[in-house]
Assembly symmetry: C2
Homo-oligomer: 242 residues x 2
Amino acid sequence: MNHLYVVGIGPGRTEQMTLEARQVLDSCDLIVGYTVYADLLREAFPHKEFLVTPMRQEVDRCRMALKAASGGRQVAVVCSGDAGVYGMAGLILELAVDYPDCQVQVVAGVTAALSGAALLGAPLTHDFAVVSLSDLLTPWEKIEKRLRLGAAADFVICIYNPSSRKRADYLARACRVLLEELEESRVCGVAGRIGRQGENVQVVTLGELEHMQVDMFTTVFVGNSQTRIIDGRMVTPRGYRL
Amino acid sequence: MNHLYVVGIGPGRTEQMTLEARQVLDSCDLIVGYTVYADLLREAFPHKEFLVTPMRQEVDRCRMALKAASGGRQVAVVCSGDAGVYGMAGLILELAVDYPDCQVQVVAGVTAALSGAALLGAPLTHDFAVVSLSDLLTPWEKIEKRLRLGAAADFVICIYNPSSRKRADYLARACRVLLEELEESRVCGVAGRIGRQGENVQVVTLGELEHMQVDMFTTVFVGNSQTRIIDGRMVTPRGYRL
């Protein structure tokens, strides 16, 4: 049986990868991924063969990986963060039905909700929801409904893909939806380029967030009703009696 | 300035820890944690001093760690999974205001939502919510509301702490709440003792889940309207055209 690994490499720095991910990549002879993520790995794995394809060619990329694995190569498809959270694990498993000689193994990684939270403080110590603002594959109405219900449920909300060149105003639109449910002073956090050059965090209010410009390498956190700023960090208390 | 590290050690096996977590633990001379998690680490770090306290003594445990760090020791507070997701990072940051000479650094780890998802397949490739059924610190009405709104929003729902000795029927109660919104055939997944001896996964329906007995080391996944079983794996398609 041939093996295909789908590996979450964490946010950026090699140290933020799990030992398991590292071992799998060490054992593979072909690493397949989106250009930006492959570039993060070239330095740590200088002798590996890389197969990179640009964004929006996910289906082709996954088929190439399955074909190579099916042909007997040791292949890892890499995803930034986790392999499953908006990652390639689902697509690979969907396509793998055409390659019955391939066994797919998913290797988890630290997704941006966790790495961004660690930089900001501790926003996710209570129930939370993760919502992507990308409407390439999801109708905007559905995204809006999830934001609205997530806020009504008093979840901490972690927002992925808050912006892109074509969607420069999406974060502002999301904030306006949230402001129908939540107060302007709600504590929010922004984590940019986590684990990469230019890493940055900011703690702001929801009112301020509406007017911020962020790029596509940013993860946004909207606190729940209990979230506070403690010594400049964003903290959602779990509720222990101190 | 003294440093206190709050470290997520992943689900269980040492390889599921990040390299950063490993390096931090290597550099510390005191590791503080709940008995079960400390036991997972003793083998990998045989020469370290451990300070363990049982469950429900979280505030004392964190104060001891802060005091030791404030006294100049290199201290790591360890949490299973991630340091922030229902972990100690929030409590440490709350208590750290009394120890202004201590700088707290949070080191993220792979939480059970991610490690469980990887074992089951790819349930979390779309927007999801994480809800704990523990009502020690959260009123049950709030938990129920979050389940209800999470289901209405068509989130994949990942359930932590589905059971304990005193709360043997909580998962069944949660299922009955979800069944008001969702059909009995909704695809669900159960991941038990992830990364530890006795690791197990099962893909079931929501109707079957209602009648399952699970222990406290179990993480439960309730699919969204698109979640399917593919070759025995639980997969939430992201929506790519194949």
